[in-house]
């Protein structure tokens, strides 16, 4: 203790720094931030630009072509008949309204179900239970979409599980139709809504909840004033999933929706049965436009500024 011993670890013998090629490359990248960025982004940008944007542009262009009703050949000629038809026709109005209604309903149902589940997972459950619940919520995602949709078909069937469970109480299955489709879609997208809300809740420190109740807020007030504003970004992220996935869905609607027409099924029948690709493209521009409006509205509320 009394002397200042020179007991620093003996590192003199370590191998000298080698100026290998890899090392020089690293140094170059370290010094040139722009090159680094370009290398990092080139692959995703290629994917996004070429594959994704290009496909969208192709869709947009196709919408301005028409089909020869006699031969079924596509006529490559600019005109807006498809667009005016989609915008003006009462059928498309009704289907659009129904689809948006379904998307809003599904989103509302999912948020209402997801909030307590996510809250329980993030703030109440012990570590072990929490992990088990995350797995339980992810599990359905491993099963095929079709399997789940058909499972709901049998749940909703006459004398199916719903009839069996609620029959004694005087209830009955909504059967195949709009309600059945909404229920099935709400089930299908629920994990996508729970997970972002759960993540957002995880990021709210427990001490904020303690502080709120310490200052006199009852549980409801704490939820309204503290929890909700802080997890709005998570709720919106979840709602973007459930809303846009519902807008574009056609398989589940075909399987459990009975004769219900949605935008997805219209696109499907125009591509397949009617063989009118340009009209299908024009119809598919509707959900696209709605999503953009939705994102714009979300941005306008400033809800994403607290991220």
């Amino acid at each position: 203790m009394t002397t200042v011993s020179s007991s620093a670890p003996d590192r003199v013998g370590e191998s000298p720094v080698r100026a290998s090629l890899a090392r020089r490359g690293s140094v170059f990248l370290y010094r040139h931030a722009k090159v680094r960025l370009a290398l990092l982004l080139s692959a995703p940008l290629f994917w996004l630009g070429l594959v994704y944007i290009a496909a969208l542009v192709a869709l947009l262009i196709t919408a301005f072509w028409t089909v020869d009703s006699f031969t079924g050949e596509i006529i490559i000629e600019w005109n807006i008949t498809n667009i005016t038809k989609v915008v003006g026709d009462a059928l498309y109005h009704a289907v659009t309204l129904r689809t948006v209604g379904a998307a809003l309903l599904v989103t509302a149902i999912d948020i209402v179900i997801a909030l307590p589940i996510a809250f329980f997972m993030a703030k109440v459950a012990s570590r072990g239970v929490q992990r088990a619940l995350v797995i339980a919520i992810l599990m359905p995602l491993w099963a095929s979409y079709l399997v789940k949709a058909y499972a709901w078909r049998s749940i909703l069937a006459q004398d199916g599980i719903i009839d069996w469970m609620f029959g004694p109480l005087g209830g009955s299955s909504p059967g195949y139709g709009f309600e059945g489709a909404v229920l099935t879609l709400a089930y299908l997208w629920l994990p996508f809504v729970i997970l972002p809300i759960y993540t957002a809740l995880e990021r709210v420190p427990d001490s904020l909840l303690d502080a709120s109740s310490d200052l006199g807020a009852k549980t409801g007030s704490t939820f309204r004033h503290i929890v909700l504003p802080l997890i709005v970004p998570g709720i919106i992220a979840g709602s973007i999933f459930s809303f846009s996935l519902t807008l574009g869905d056609y398989i589940a609607v075909k399987i459990v929706g009975g004769a219900t027409q949605m935008l997805g099924t219209l696109v499907y029948s125009n591509v397949g049965v009617a063989n009118n690709l340009p009209l299908a493209a024009a119809i598919s521009l509707i959900p696209l436009a709605i999503i953009f409006v939705y994102l714009g509205a979300v941005r306008r509320t400033g809800a994403l500024n607290n991220l």
Binding site: M1, T2, P205, S207, L208, D210, A211, S212, S213, D214, L215, G216, A217, K218, S221, H225, I226, P229, L230, N306
Partner: protein, 337 residues
């Protein structure tokens, strides 16, 4: 009424599974007292505080506030408020909204509560900061917002969990003075958790020293510092040379275990002054501390003690290996139980 303690803890115990975080704490804290809980990490201070605030339910025992048993009450039903160690400011609200929050959830109208919040901000010398977001403040300013937010609802008892832990030394000293001033002005009970013994000594009317989930000594600053009752307190609150009963007998010719502070020992050259016990030894190490020097002496009787020597005008240089005599004033020997 005035004899009723602000807080009474009776047999307070908390276990987390097999961990006994707090075991059998009995404590009365008077109204208007500045009370500190001092103890090493993991000694159960925060857990006691959280049970007083209502965030944890005791495994057994009771918490009384002004004579009312609140053991089972929710935090929002208790007349105590907490200043959290991490401040716990609401990130989506402005400073003013943060401070006004307690009034808002009590249904106070917006003008009234904003005025009260501005007053509270003035109390902690943060006028004009109301429109900022918590992220736009420094650590010390956040600390003050947390304080104002807890004070605005006029609690009878304020709980502070290491409120100054994250601040640098200068700011900490400044905040200590301010805290003490505010406490004196408002006359409310402060329960202050810290593991900084100096902070506890300077601020508190009384101190409870915690170790391993229990109170090992309770008293005012002087009691705790001058008359530590256990070797643990003797060395956690400041440092001491601790003599077991056998060592005391052999080295000092004193009956019973005892401890002594470094500043109560003196290095003398030659004979020890009358009325002191002279212990011959060799200087083993000197640590320069600025205003004073800490001198470690290996006593010939086989014990190592620390002596604190003021660096005043007539200080003599003490070299390593010098033969010296350590003078012990018997009246400063604190008996240990």
């Amino acid at each position: 009424m005035s004899t009723q303690p602000a807080i009474r803890l009776t047999g307070l115990t908390k276990s987390f599974g097999s961990v006994n975080a707090v075991s059998g704490v009995n404590l009365d804290i008077a109204p208007g007292e500045f009370f500190s809980m001092l103890g090493p990490s993991g000694s159960g201070k925060t857990t006691v505080l959280r049970m007083i605030a209502g965030f944890e339910t005791p495994t057994s025992g009771t918490v009384e506030l002004f004579g009312k048993d609140v053991t089972k009450d929710a935090p929002f039903d208790r007349d105590v408020n907490t200043v959290f160690q991490d401040y716990a400011l609401f990130p989506h609200m402005s400073v003013l909204e943060n401070v006004a929050y307690g009034l808002r959830v009590r249904g106070v109208k917006i003008d009234a509560r904003n005025n009260a919040a501005r007053d509270a901000l003035a109390l902690v010398r943060l006028e004009g900061y109301g429109d900022r977001k918590p992220t736009q403040l420094s650590g010390g300013q956040r600390q003050r917002v947390a304080l104002a937010r807890a004070l605005v609802v006029e609690p009878k008892v304020l709980l502070l969990d290491e409120p100054l832990g994250a601040l640098d030394l200068k700011l900490r000293e400044q905040m200590q003075v301010e805290l003490k001033e505010i406490q004196r002005r408002l006359g409310i009970t402060f329960i202050f958790v810290t593991h900084d013994q100096e902070e506890a000594l300077t601020l508190s009317d009384r101190i409870a020293v915690f170790n391993e989930g229990g109170i090992v000594q309770l008293g005012d600053a002087e009691d705790v510092y001058r008359r530590p009752q256990t070797p643990f307190v003797a060395n956690f609150v400041g440092t001491s040379a601790v003599f077991t009963a056998d060592e005391a007998k052999a080295v000092l010719g004193h009956k019973g275990a005892c401890s002594i502070r470094p500043e109560h020992l003196e290095i003398v050259r030659g004979k020890a002054p009358a009325g002191t016990i002279g212990l011959p030894g060799t200087v083993a190490e000197t640590i320069f501390l600025g205003a004073s020097t800490r001198i470690i002496v290996d006593l010939d009787a086989g014990k190592r003690v620390a002596v604190l020597e003021q660096n005043d005008l007539n200080t003599t240089d003490t070299k390593l290996g010098t033969k010296v005599t350590v003078a012990v004033y018997p009246r400063f020997l604190a008996p240990l139980t």
